[in-house]
């Protein structure tokens, strides 16, 4: 029975590790400035975790294989050499190094995204999430957003954003259903929700942030690859949670200018 356990456990271990290493299932390719660093840190963590995983599982398997009790077995038990001492040292070294490496060396990404303010002159886009759609608002020429009057929100009149049309700051604002940004330009998203807690998740951009009603949460990143990416809601927000999605179009500068003009004309 012990031998069987050893064999099965070894198989499970090898298969699991093999699948990870094969990268058959892996992140979508990173398309933002900080994506590479994040992937790098993941790989580092993965190596550390894999070592621990393989060693622990194989030791367990080995012991189960080796130390099964046989009939009329009178062999004396053996205490682990050095008792608990070396195991504690091992644990401290293993986890300790993980902590120092990952926590303190590897937090650049987090710091870059949340501690440092967005680069000057980055494109500001306001996001309003609601059951079950995202809307996006560009400040227009004056670079200012008017306030969101939830009282004024009226889908039938196409006022998705609760814009007070008399408000000078709101006049030139451009509301869209998809998010479009020029490539290689830093973007600041100002995330708002009008009803539930929502999520804002773009795997390829390596960004995710919960959207909390009553708060305007800034989130900045720099897309580096032209393309169309899905924006998913990743915080349970009700019935249509899984249908709540929008698209991020990363365009070349000139395409973006065309697009924004076109959108402005549609207002």
């Amino acid at each position: 029975m012990g031998k069987a356990f050893a064999v099965v456990l070894t198989i499970i271990t090898t298969v699991s590790v093999a699948i990870f290493v094969s990268r058959h299932w892996w992140f979508p390719e990173a398309a933002s400035a900080h994506g590479g660093a994040m992937d790098h840190q993941f790989v580092e963590t993965f190596v550390g975790a894999a070592i621990g995983f393989i060693l622990a599982q194989l030791c367990l398997a080995g012991f189960a294989w080796k130390y099964g009790e046989r009939k009329g077995d009178a062999r004396p038990i053996r205490i682990f050499p050095g008792g608990a001492k070396w195991l504690i040292v091992l644990a401290l070294v293993y986890v300790g190094s993980e902590i120092i490496l990952l926590e303190f060396v590897g937090q650049k990404v987090w710091a870059a995204m949340y501690f440092t303010p967005p680069a000057a002159g980055s494109l500001q886009v306001q996001v309003l999430a609601g059951q079950f759609a995202f809307y996006f608002r560009y400040p227009g020429p004056d670079g200012k957003f008017g306030p969101i009057h939830t009282r004024k929100i009226d889908e039938t009149k196409g006022n998705f954003f609760g814009i007070d049309s008399s408000d000078p700051e709101s006049k030139d604002d451009i509301v869209t259903v998809d998010l479009a940004v020029p490539v290689n330009q830093p973007v600041v998203l100002l995330l708002n929700s009008k009803d539930m807690g929502h999520g804002f998740y773009i795997p390829e951009m390596r960004i995710q942030q919960d959207i909390v009603p009553g708060m305007e949460i800034p989130l900045h990143f720099t897309p580096t690859k032209i393309g169309r990416y899905e924006i998913a809601c990743n915080q349970l927000c009700g019935l249509g949670h899984n249908t709540m999605r929008a698209f991020l179009d990363v365009m070349s500068e000139e395409d973006y200018q065309k697009w924004i003009v076109e959108q402005a004309s549609l207002q």
């Binding site: 969101i148 009603p213 009553g214 305007e216």
Partner: protein, 101 residues
């Protein structure tokens, strides 16, 4: 098992007066034009003193074996201290207001 000593009349009533005195002081303080933070700090400080008096004398903890105190109070204090971490957010919340009615 019987408690060696226990609070005599003198102690009990002086504690009582002490508590009343502190209460009156708090009330007077409330009418001083202090900034809210200062007032909060002072009031909480006084309340903790009052609580300590009640626990020590009325609830008799002062006369129990130290180990009881040593196991109960730190656990409570630790949890409360951890809970204060949430205030890091509420202060932020004030200037991240979003929706207008």
């Amino acid at each position: 098992m019987e408690h060696a000593e226990t609070a005599g009349n003198k102690i009990v009533f002086s504690v009582w007066f002490g508590l009343l005195g502190l209460t009156v002081f708090e009330v007077i303080l409330a009418y001083r034009q202090l900034p809210l933070e200062t007032m909060l700090t002072v009031l909480m400080f006084l309340s903790v003193i009052k609580a300590a008096l009640i626990i020590a004398y009325f609830m008799h903890l002062r006369y129990e074996r130290a180990s009881l105190f040593v196991t109960l109070i730190p656990a409570l204090v630790f949890v409360l201290i951890m809970m204060t971490v949430i205030f890091a957010d509420s202060s932020r919340l004030a200037h991240m207001r979003s929706l207008v009615q």
